[in-house]
Structures are given as structure tokens and as C-alpha cells.
């Protein structure tokens, strides 16, 4: 009997409405399914996995890895439900007193996690000098208070911890000795310069720790149920994967992994590493840009559930145009018939003129009964479709990073609205399997490591500093599960810091590599 090769990968995207799954062998898509997302996490995943098995038979032992992208954590924050009571310890006094932790949070979310903020001594200056020494006794007092209150998750932030992480680690050690059971999230591992934004992301991470355990366990149970013993990974917002243990500690890294997976999947299906991706759903069109196969990240503050943060998110522009968009005169959207498209659109015998009807009338797609839109005025249809194309092209143009020609990859069910050329973008591609690009994106993700810190160039030369940063990023990628020989630097960004002396420079380096998977 021949040995079973573990060559297959399963990618799953759990959205608010649909759970999509794909079975892949190397670069070939063997099967794809769309199922409904369920309240009970396990059964939705089981249904998707069984759907795949019925579309294409496979032995559980052939599965090399299962990759899941999920919106569970984002939804928990938006709904302010299922969150762990969380304390925040900020090491900063005497600085920052005027703006305590969670100062600009919506009351609902702040109260949902217990509103426990502590200001303690500590923190560093921009150049690494100490603002005030950390006081272990002060941290122990906080620990006693947390113990009395029964708080089980703690976020720790320290001023300029991206420059010096020393105090956050020290505080964590003290806390761990006092309260071994408590979850600890450290801000320098999560965010960038900008104390409130980084601290906010850390608190969000901390309050998701119990949910992360629950979700990860539920995913594991689902795999067990169908007999798959392959390792499980989750998608991060930057298009790389994290393993289960990492997910338990850094659930915030899953935010916005949906659009990221969709973009990465589009790149994979089209074979392009540098392109714009247009994802047209029922209600909106999301446009992002891939550079070297990874989504470009947003440079501005990201608002999440009303909280300002600066964690890594793809830079996506959205416009209210989708397959279900209602058409009134020459206006398209922003309102949509959504999931009722197959009941309300004219081509399906409904009474509502939608963008999909225009696509059918204009000969871009064959859906439903074209006879039901034959009465529409041809020149008006053509003019409105041209406007949709122009609007989408304008968004794409806005997202491009250089004047060089940029291919455009179109995915999503609503992509039938677009012609084969967009104004200013002659190269438009619509790959196979476009409807499940997000699940494919999950299946093909790599693992990465990132360094983002302010360095003082002086004792070390600029070249030495860059080498240090690159080596650290590669180490982080390997620590996250990349095969060492496949890890490479994909991004180096150097920003001189205005007003500061001593040639301070902020360096961001990102490394990625292929996932190391134990072979059977």
C-alpha cells in the first residue's frame, strides 16, 4: 500500500453571513463550497468541511494544514459582547496622567470590560532614557487589587515601549509571579508609536483572550469531528498566518483578515504579485492594492467599534456599488437589495431594478431571464454601466502607489458589473474561482515577522541598524512558524523623525516565509 502524501490544504473564510471553504492541492483548487455561518462555531465549520468532502472525496490524512480566516473577534468588539473583564496598567507616571487609559472609548465598550485602568511609574523617553524607574511594589499592589476583583486579563503599556520594551516585560514578570493564571498582553508586541492607539489595540487584544480560547477550541473540535488531525492556522490582517498558540495570545491580529484574504486570493488566482484588487459583493466594492503579494497597510488611524487604534490593517477603500445595488435613473446604490437579489431583481422576476439587471441587459452577464430586462433603454443601460466602471476605476486610481501601469484583478459575485477594460486600466482580469477568493487567500497564506521601532543612528551606522532590524524580522518570522530557508525580507521602510536630534529614524521591516508543516 502506498503511503498517503499530505499534500492538500483547506482554506476557510468565516464571514458574518457565509462560510466559504476550498480544498487545494498545491496551486490547484480541487473543490469549493459556500455554506451559512452558524451561531455555534463548530457546526458551521463541520458543515463546510463535509461540503468539501462531498464535492471531492479526500482522506483526512491527506490534509497538510487547515487555514481559517474569521470575523468572530471583530464582531465581538463591534457588539461589545463575549469580552473578558480586562485591566490596563500603564507605566508612565508622572507623564500621561491627564489622559488615563480608555479615555476616548465609547462608554458601552469601556464598561463591558470593567473599566479598570491603573497608572504606574515607568516609561521611557524617545531616546531610551527612563522617565521614572518602575516600582515593583506598585505593580504588586495592582496585582492584589486585580486578585480581589477577580480580573483575569491584563493589558500593559509603557511610554515609548517600541523603543524600549524593558518595563513592560518587567511588569509582566512581577504580575505573573503574583497572579500566575492571568492573561497578559504587552503593547510593544502589538502596536506602534502612538501611546493611546497602541494601548487601545492591546486592551482589545486582552479582552478577547477568553474568546480566543473558545474559538480556537471550537475550530479544533470541528476538525476532530471530521477526523482531520492536521495543524490549524488562523489568518492575520497582513495576509500571513499564525498558529493556534499565537492566536490564543494575539487574537487582535485577526482583525480585517477578510479583505486581506480576498486580496491575497485574487493575487494568487491571477498569478500577480503587484496589482489592484477589486472585490465586488452585493452591497459594496472594496478596492485594495497588493505590493509583492501582500496588501498595502493603512497608514492612518483605524477606528474599530469606536476605538482609535493603529494596528496593522489593509488599506481598503470602499464604495457603495454592488451586484444588488438599486438603480434609480442614473444613480446606482448605495442601498442594496442584498441577499434578496434572487427574489427582487428584474431578471429573477422581481420588481426592483438592480445593478445586476443592467449587467444582464448590457450583455456583460447571463443570469436569470434576460427577456425580463429586454425593455430597458439600451443607451441608458450602457451609460450607467460606463459610469459604474468609471467610478470603480477612479477608486482604483486613487489607491495606486505609482504612475506605473497597474493590472486590476476583479473578484466577488458582483464583478459581472465591470467590463473587460476600465478607464485608465486596460489590463483587467477576472480569474476562475473568483467567488471564493477569500477562502483561497486563507489557504495560501504565509507566515511573517515585523519590526517597527525608532532607532538612533550614531553608535551604529545606518547600515548596521538596518541589518539588525532585518535579522530581527527574520527571527520573528521563523518564531511564527516560517521555514528558515524560505524566510525573506519583503518590506523596508525608513522614516526620519522630524524635530528629533541624533538622527532618530523609524524603521519598519517585514519578513515572510513559507509555513513549516510537519510532513507525515
Amino acid at each position: 500500500m502506498t503511503r498517503i502524501e499530505r499534500t492538500l490544504r483547506i482554506g476557510i473564510d468565516v464571514g458574518g453571513t457565509n462560510t466559504d471553504a476550498v480544498l487545494m492541492d498545491g496551486t490547484a483548487v480541487l473543490a469549493e463550497v459556500k455554506t451559512s455561518t452558524t451561531d455555534d462555531v463548530t457546526s458551521g465549520i463541520v458543515a463546510a468541511l463535509r461540503g468539501l468532502a462531498s464535492a471531492r472525496e479526500f482522506a483526512p490524512g491527506q490534509i497538510q494544514a487547515v487555514m481559517i480566516g474569521t470575523t468572530h473577534f471583530t464582531n465581538a468588539i463591534v457588539e461589545a459582547s463575549r469580552l473578558t473583564e480586562t485591566a490596563v496598567i500603564r507605566l508612565a507616571l508622572p507623564a500621561t496622567r491627564a489622559l488615563p487609559p480608555m479615555v476616548d472609548w465609547p462608554d458601552r465598550l469601556r464598561l463591558a470590560i470593567g473599566d479598570h485602568g491603573y497608572l504606574c511609574h515607568g516609561g521611557h523617553e524617545f531616546d531610551g532614557r527612563v522617565i521614572a524607574p518602575i516600582d515593583p511594589e506598585e505593580i504588586k499592589k495592582v496585582a492584589a487589587d486585580l486578585h480581589a476583583k477577580g480580573v483575569r486579563s491584563v493589558a500593559i503599556s509603557s511610554v515609548f515601549s517600541p523603543v524600549s520594551a524593558e518595563f513592560e516585560q518587567l511588569a509582566a514578570d512581577v504580575l505573573r509571579a503574583e497572579l500566575p493564571e492571568v492573561h497578559i498582553s504587552l503593547s510593544h508586541e502589538i502596536g506602534r508609536i502612538g501611546l493611546l492607539e497602541r494601548e487601545n489595540a492591546t486592551i482589545i487584544n486582552a479582552c478577547l483572550r477568553d474568546l480566543a480560547d473558545g474559538i480556537v477550541d471550537a475550530f479544533g473540535t470541528a476538525l476532530q469531528t471530521v477526523g482531520i488531525d492536521a495543524p490549524l492556522f488562523l489568518s492575520q490582517n497582513d495576509g500571513t498566518l499564525m498558529d493556534v498558540e499565537y492566536t490564543r495570545r494575539y487574537p487582535v491580529a485577526t482583525f480585517a483578515s477578510g479583505p486581506t484574504n480576498s486580496m491575497r486570493g485574487a493575487a494568487f488566482l491571477s498569478g500577480l504579485a503587484d496589482c489592484a484588487v477589486v472585490d465586488i459583493g452585493g452591497t459594496t466594492t472594496d478596492v485594495g492594492v497588493l505590493a509583492r503579494g501582500f496588501p498595502r497597510e493603512s497608514a492612518t488611524e483605524v477606528d474599530l467599534g469606536g476605538v482609535r487604534s493603529n494596528f496593522r490593517m489593509p488599506d481598503v477603500l470602499s464604495v457603495g456599488i454592488g451586484g444588488g445595488s438599486r438603480v434609480r435613473g442614473t444613480a446606482v446604490g448605495p442601498d442594496s437589495v442584498g441577499y434578496e437579489l434572487t427574489r427582487r431583481a428584474l431578471v429573477f422576476g422581481g420588481d426592483t431594478l438592480t445593478a445586476t439587471d443592467l449587467a444582464v441587459a448590457g450583455g456583460l452577464a447571463e443570469i436569470g431571464d434576460p427577456g425580463l430586462v429586454a425593455h430597458l433603454d439600451r443607451s441608458a443601460v450602457r451609460a450607467t454601466l460606463a459610469r459604474i466602471a468609471r467610478d470603480v476605476a477612479e477608486i482604483v486610481d486613487r489607491m495606486r502607489t505609482s504612475a506605473a501601469p497597474l493590472p486590476v484583478v476583479v473578484v466577488g459575485g458582483g464583478s459581472i458589473l465591470l467590463p473587460d477594460e476600465l478607464p485608465g486600466f486596460p489590463d483587467v482580469r477576472r480569474p476562475d474561482h473568483f467567488a471564493v477568493a477569500n477562502a483561497i487567500g486563507a489557504a495560501i497564506a504565509q507566515v511573517g515577522g515585523e519590526v517597527d521601532r525608532i532607532f538612533a543612528i550614531g553608535v551604529l551606522t545606518r547600515e548596521e541598524v538596518l541589518e539588525h532590524a532585518k535579522a530581527e524580522a527574520l527571527d520573528k518570522a521563523v518564531a511564527a512558524g516560517a521555514r528558515p530557508e524560505s524566510a525573506q525580507i519583503v518590506e523596508v521602510d525608513e522614516v526620519p523623525i522630524a524635530y528629533l536630534p541624533g538622527n532618530a529614524v523609524r524603521i519598519r521591516v517585514k519578513a515572510v516565509g513559507e509555513l513549516e508543516v510537519a510532513r507525515a
Partner: protein
């Protein structure tokens, strides 16, 4: 006039416009003042005419890098420590504080101090916008000594600087700011109310609030924010505001030279509207359309998001953004030969002569 929460937010929005690409994001400053308002403290803004001639006014500000300020958030005590130190040196109590710079985050710092101490804030400033250095003040232009000035850090450390040269004051204070961690709190140009009336640009805090309110209301009513801005400015001492250019960023070049973010941004106009190049040093200095100067410092060159009219700072400019370049004229007090010598084109090493923006349109 007592500032409300909504008035505060409008003021911060308008101050970001008057930051002309720099000045620091007023967000942190606004949050600081919001905390005071929510705690029941009052922010009372008074006109320049509301104080007796001999009343002592101590202008206040933060100094240093906005990049430090967003990380090492203020203790809230720095401004108070600086003001108290200067009062002690002068042997007199202040009757009011005021901004030295109404553009960017420094519009907010005197409001914080006023709320903390119950001190009124004079509706005026010395820059009428944002500028990078302490001598770039109408106070300096019209003969007010900048010192004795006080400077304080978050530890409550203070220093007094005394010199007969306002440029050296800037140089010395810059050094102390770095020692204090890259962000410090200052009170400079101590003067009596009669001197404020003679040398300050009046009504600039109200101007911030008016601009911010106009933008907010235009957005709420789905009207053109730029038209609203122009209509609003017509009733102020700035009188002239107009869209200079609508285009897309096609190149951004920035370097740090001598502690300043210097560089230029190139915009391509829609429908063959030409090429606009803006040169900046923290703030925007000069805008050239196809090589011809169309606006130059001290007149205001504001880069605003074409859809939302949100100000876009020099640090966040990037390829592909749709930007509307909006220019605002400065009042006569900022355009005298003496004023132009201090913060006109030559003060920034530009060889182009100053020409009022409204005559270039």
C-alpha cells in the same frame, strides 16, 4: 464666552486647517481639554478689549515634536508649572493666558491651562497660523521681548530663559526641550493687555471655531465645504479664501534637515489643470503652478481632502490622494515689511518675493 464641547471640537477642526500642513494634530490637545470640560471646569474665552491696559497676559504653548507628544502624553501639569514659574520670576499673577500659535495643537494648550487655573484665554495669537519657531511671532515683529520665558517638563522641572534676542531664545529653548524628552511646555512673551492689543492678531481662536463649524455644518447638510469656507472667511479679518487647485498627489519627497521635515509635494490637476508643487518645512511655504508662484508664506496654503475637506498634514501626504489646495490671505499685521522679515519668504531661505495671494488668483 464659554466654550462648549461642540465649540471645542469645532475649534480643533479649524485649528488643523490653520496648521497649513503642520502644527501637530490637535487630537491629543482636544482630548485634554475635553477631560477638563467633562470634570466641570470652564473654558472662558475673552476678547482682546476685555482686559484693562495693565493686566498681565502670559501666552502658553507646547514646544517640541508632535511625534513625541502622541507617545509621551502630557501629565497635564507642565503648562501649570511653566506659568507658575514665570509668575514667580515676574512677581505678578497673570490675568489671562493666550495662544502664541492658533494653528495645530497649540490652539488647545492655552485652553487646557485656562480650564485648570480658571484663567480666561484671550481670543488672539501671535502667528495667525502655525510656524516652526518661537521668534516667528507678531509679538517679536512689533518689539515685544520674548523673555523672560519659562519652560517645564512633565517632571515639573522648570527653567527660566533670559536673553535680549528672540532668535537666541528659540535656540536655547529648543535645547532644553530635547533634554526634557522632546516635548515641553512654555510661557513666553509676557506682556500687558495694551501690548497684546497692539501686537497680536485678534480673534483667531474664534476664527478656528468658525472655520470648524462651517466645515461641520457643510458636511451635515451635504454642501460644498470649500464654498462654505470661502463664505465664512469673507466675514473675518482674513477676508480672502479660495480653492487654488484640485488634483492628485503624484509625488512626495521629504527629508529631515536640521530637525525639520523639509520637502515638496507634486500634484497633478484634473482635466489638464497643470502641475502644482508645494514646498514645505513642517508647514507649507510656497505653491507653484507650472512654475509660477501662486501663494507664498505667510499666506496660508492648506492641503485638504477633496471629499471631506479634512486637513491633510505633510506627514500623511501620499501618492494618489485627491487634494484640494485652499489658500487664505493673512491680515495686514502679518504683511508689514517688519513681519515679512521675520516670517516671510526670506526667513525660510526662499528667494521669491512676497506677493499677496489674492492678487495672484
Amino acid at each position: 464666552m464659554e466654550l462648549t464641547l461642540e465649540g471645542l471640537r469645532d475649534t480643533a477642526r479649524g485649528a488643523a486647517v490653520l496648521g497649513t500642513g503642520g502644527g501637530g494634530d490637535p487630537y491629543i490637545g482636544r482630548l485634554l481639554v475635553e477631560q477638563e470640560l467633562k470634570a466641570g471646569h470652564r473654558v472662558e474665552i475673552i476678547g482682546v478689549d476685555e482686559l484693562p491696559d495693565e493686566a498681565l497676559v502670559l501666552p502658553s504653548a507646547m514646544m517640541g515634536a508632535p511625534t513625541v507628544f502622541v507617545e509621551k502624553l502630557p501629565s497635564g501639569e507642565g503648562g501649570r508649572a511653566a506659568l507658575t514659574a514665570l509668575e514667580r520670576r515676574l512677581g505678578r499673577r497673570a490675568s489671562a493666558t493666550m495662544p502664541i500659535e492658533c494653528g495645530g495643537i497649540n490652539s488647545m494648550m492655552p485652553l487646557l491651562l485656562g480650564a485648570q487655573l480658571g484663567l480666561p484665554i484671550v481670543d488672539a495669537d501671535g502667528m495667525g497660523r502655525a510656524f516652526p519657531e518661537l521668534q516667528m511671532e507678531t509679538f517679536n515683529v512689533y518689539g515685544v521681548p520674548g523673555t523672560p520665558m519659562s519652560i517645564a517638563g512633565d517632571h515639573g522641572d522648570t527653567a527660566i530663559i533670559e536673553t535680549d534676542d528672540n532668535v537666541r531664545m528659540e535656540w536655547l529653548a529648543r535645547g532644553l526641550t530635547i533634554r526634557m524628552g522632546g516635548a515641553a511646555y512654555i510661557c513666553d512673551y509676557p506682556m500687558d493687555a495694551a501690548t497684546v492689543r497692539r501686537t497680536a492678531i485678534p480673534g483667531t481662536l474664534s476664527l478656528c471655531r468658525t472655520i470648524g463649524r462651517a466645515l461641520r455644518e457643510a458636511r451635515e447638510r451635504h454642501e460644498d465645504p470649500f464654498a462654505a469656507l470661502t463664505a465664512t472667511l469673507a466675514d473675518t479679518i482674513y477676508t480672502y479664501g479660495a480653492v487654488l487647485f484640485r488634483g492628485k498627489v503624484v509625488d512626495v519627497e521629504r527629508r529631515t534637515i536640521e530637525g525639520f521635515a523639509r520637502g515638496q509635494v507634486t500634484l497633478e490637476g484634473f482635466d489638464g489643470g497643470g502641475t502644482l508643487v508645494i514646498t514645505f518645512q513642517n508647514e507649507h511655504l510656497v505653491a507653484r503652478l507650472d512654475g509660477q508662484v501662486r501663494a507664498i508664506v505667510p499666506d496660508l496654503i492648506c492641503t485638504l481632502d477633496s471629499e471631506t475637506a479634512e486637513p491633510v498634514t505633510t506627514e500623511s501626504l501620499r501618492y494618489g490622494q485627491r487634494i484640494t489646495v485652499y489658500t487664505i490671505s493673512t491680515p495686514p499685521i502679518m504683511r508689514s515689511p517688519a513681519a515679512l522679515a521675520v516670517f516671510g519668504p526670506s526667513a525660510f531661505g526662499l528667494t521669491d518675493p512676497y506677493v499677496p495671494v489674492e492678487t495672484l488668483g
